[in-house]
């Protein structure tokens, strides 16, 4: 047997050349890693308490403002995704930290409305109760009426609100004048107007129903009970209640006419179809700064009081709004400092003034709204509308550990898109919510 030696030497030399850089880089990587381990944990000065804060990229500015105004506390900030879009980032981290008994953030911001119920549940047991003296009653009472309901689980307050997302009725004042319409004050008027628009001005819309959060825009203000926590671990889910069916009767004709679009408002196809064609749209306060620029000409955007059902007092819903939590695992001086950080970030104008969302803390509202007004985007005065709507959010839509929006978005919205009537989808919506509730250990009741 012969062994051909010809190809081998060249091959080996090339092979060595390929591997040497890798080995060098690997050595560099390992030694850098060793150095990182060898550096001792940052030696915090004994006098200054250290508070770890987790925020999303938008709140970074607020934390930095805190640091500037409060040099007596050392803040270690980590930027993460804000627990947005149901990512469960916080739940994952906290659950792992619970296993090893360390690593929790002292103060954390979350965009996810359900987090109060989820994190306060026995499985995660993360946030500190705030209404037991940790945060003063004066401060707690300084939030707009009813807004802390989104932070209240089983009667205890577990977080502070950063901002609100109260629903109002947005409209294009130039178009309304051009078409000769008056701004409706009730849902029935809005629907009638929508039907008129569908025949007289096809292609223009009075609202959207293609998003995963539309249940908050249409069902919540109607006091439809789909996640009403009536007592500890007991939830009322009843989608055949007249409060719910009147909504589907209201919306189905409009979807058929095209006055209510099934396009998701944040997608490109919506932009292409409806730029300058949005006559009206019920939606949260943050639509003003985050959705409408570009879709509604500057200076034409007006906000009116949320629609009411007939002569009943108006209630509205909410789509989002941020939450600030404090860990229950902090003690001593760090606990005091963390409470102070928490309070400052959610109430001090130094923080709320630069927040892009409507402040939940009443004292900051007027100034913030004035700042928004100055952008020239709006044709009406936002302040009275926003402030009033902030107090009208119906408290029967409770924070729960499962995501109602996820169910609406993944099963109802696609079916609406496939031309199924909303009325026929309500029962399965309710039954899925029931499944989720029971899977999370809640008892489901169906109150008439």
């Amino acid at each position: 047997m012969r062994i051909a030696k010809s190809g081998n030497n060249g091959g080996r030399r090339l092979r060595l050349r390929l591997r040497t850089p890798l080995v060098v880089l690997a050595a560099a990587g390992v030694s850098l890693g060793t150095i990182a381990v060898a550096i001792p944990a940052s030696a915090a000065s004994k006098a200054k308490p250290v508070v770890t804060v987790w925020v999303d990229s938008t709140r970074v500015a607020q934390v930095k403002a805190y640091e500037k105004a409060n040099p007596g506390v050392k803040v270690v900030m980590t930027v993460y995704n804000g627990n947005a879009n149901g990512s469960g980032y916080l739940q994952s981290k906290i659950s792992l930290d619970n296993r090893v008994g360390a690593g929790w953030p002292d103060v954390v911001f979350s965009e996810e409305n359900n987090d109060a119920a989820s994190l306060a549940s026995p499985q995660f047991n993360y946030p500190a109760q705030l209404d037991n003296g940790t945060v003063s009653k004066t401060i707690l009472n300084g939030f707009a009426k009813g807004t802390l309901a989104g932070c209240t689980v089983n009667g205890k307050v577990y977080c502070l609100r950063n901002d609100l997302a109260q629903n109002v009725l947005w409209y294009n004042s130039a178009l309304m004048t051009q078409f000769g319409y008056t701004v409706p004050t009730t849902w029935q008027q809005w629907q009638a107007l929508g039907e008129e628009v569908a025949t007289q001005h096809p292609g223009y819309i009075v609202g959207g129903i293609g998003d995963g959060w539309d249940d908050n825009i249409y069902l919540w203000p109607s006091e439809c009970h789909v996640n009403d926590v009536v007592k500890a671990d007991t939830v009322d889910i009843n989608a055949s209640d007249p409060n719910c069916t009147r909504v589907s009767s209201l919306l189905d004709p409009l979807v058929k006419d095209g006055a209510l679009t099934t396009d998701n408002v944040f997608t490109s196809s919506f932009d292409q179809s409806f730029t300058n064609k949005i006559l009206m749209m019920p939606g949260p306060s943050w639509y003003g700064a985050d959705l409408f620029p570009g879709l509604v000409a500057k200076g034409d955007l007006g906000a009116a009081d949320p629609l009411a059902w007939g002569s009943a007092p108006a209630v509205t819903g909410e789509v989002g709004g941020g939450l600030w939590f404090m860990s229950r695992h902090v003690t001593g001086a760090t606990k005091t400092a963390a409470a102070q950080v928490l309070t400052w970030l959610s109430t001090n104008y130094g923080s709320q003034g630069i927040s892009p969302g409507f402040p939940a803390y009443v004292a900051d509202e007027a100034k913030w709204t004035a700042g928004q007004q100055a952008s020239g985007q709006y044709s009406t005065q936002l302040a009275p509308v926003f402030a009033k709507a902030a107090t009208e959010v119906w408290s029967g839509w409770s924070p729960v550990p499962w995501s109602v929006d996820a169910v609406w978005g993944s099963s109802v919205t696609p079916s609406i898109n496939a031309s199924t009537s909303i009325g026929s989808l309500l029962p399965s919506f309710a039954s899925q919510l029931t499944d989720y509730a029971q899977s999370d250990g809640y008892t489901v009741v169906t109150k008439p």
């Binding site: 880089l25 390992v30 060793t34 892009p356």
Partner: protein, 291 residues
């Protein structure tokens, strides 16, 4: 008739290749063109239009300066973790594959079986135990908590095993043994040089797996300065209004900027691929043995 058949087969083959080329490459072309357009142009313009160099420069600048050049930190971290992982993975996997193919030790098949078993186990279930292990040695937050698990690369062991067992004849190695080589030299002087294609393949796949791994760094690394690219990209995504509508603020990350970050994440993988491709040559064993 035969010539017609050949022509027909060749034309069909050509069309099929072209169709698949389009399938694979069209989204990538879109991606490469995206940073040259504004967010508005992405929505209202033609998908294949070229925007302007001005837009491109703006998008690149915004993406790189985001959060104090976070993108560069992510790239640096990813490189450290990936290359660290590959180096150890190669040292462990190639000899292991060789041994599984050529040395008949007790437990050889069991080892192959266990390796396959562990490869098939869903990673979701392994996250917690890995975290607990790392925590037990106080490695949470250190690059080693990521690099060491990365170097466990059973896929590479199998690549090496299958390569050796199907492409390298035993005679070759036996000849070396007869000539007096000890086992180590047989491996080092004969088997290893022949394995250049598979070393390149294993290194490449190990690199890609490490570079794109989200789960492990997510669990092991709590602070921003340690984030690799996949976690950084998630962060960027959640700072983009199109993917996180409530995000608000003056956050300048729009879709063109996201496209820049995506391209930055892609590029090193492709560069490593080009290097690895060079080793996928044919006929290494031509004339090596004679039956």
């Amino acid at each position: 008739m035969k010539i017609f058949n050949r022509l027909w087969t060749k034309t069909l083959g050509f069309i099929v290749l072209l169709a698949f080329t389009a399938f694979f490459i069209v989204p990538v072309i879109w991606l490469l063109l995206a940073p040259t357009k504004t967010d508005h142009q992405l929505i209202f313009g033609n998908p294949f239009s070229f925007g302007s160099f001005h837009n491109l420069a703006h998008a690149i600048r915004v993406t790189f300066t985001y959060q104090d050049y976070a993108l560069l930190t992510w790239v640096k971290n990813s490189a450290i973790y990936s290359f660290g992982g590959i180096a150890i993975a190669l040292v462990a996997s190639i000899p292991a594959g060789y041994a599984l193919a050529f040395t008949n030790f007790i437990g050889r098949r069991t080892l192959l079986g266990i390796t396959l078993f562990v490869m098939i186990m869903p990673a979701t279930a392994l996250v917690l135990p890995l975290f607990l292990e790392a925590n037990a040695v106080h490695a949470i937050g250190s690059p080693i908590s990521v690099i060491l698990p990365f170097s466990f690369f059973p896929f590479g062991v199998y690549l090496s095993y299958i390569f050796y067992s199907s492409s390298v004849p035993r005679d070759l190695l036996n000849a070396a043994r007869i000539d007096g080589c000890n086992e180590w030299n047989v491996f080092r002087k004969i088997a290893l040089p022949l394995a250049r294609p598979v070393v390149a393949l294993v290194a490449f796949f190990a690199f890609v797996a490490n570079w794109n791994n989200f789960f492990l760094p997510f669990v092991m690394l709590p602070s921003n300065s340690n984030y690799p690219l996949p976690i950084g990209l998630q962060d960027l995504l959640s700072s983009t209004p199109a993917f996180n509508p409530g995000i608000g603020g003056d956050v300048p990350i729009l879709r063109p900027e996201l496209a820049v970050a995506t391209i930055v994440a892609m590029a090193p993988v492709l560069i490593v691929f080009l290097f690895a491709q060079r080793s996928l040559v044919s006929g290494m064993l031509a004339g090596a043995t004679k039956e």
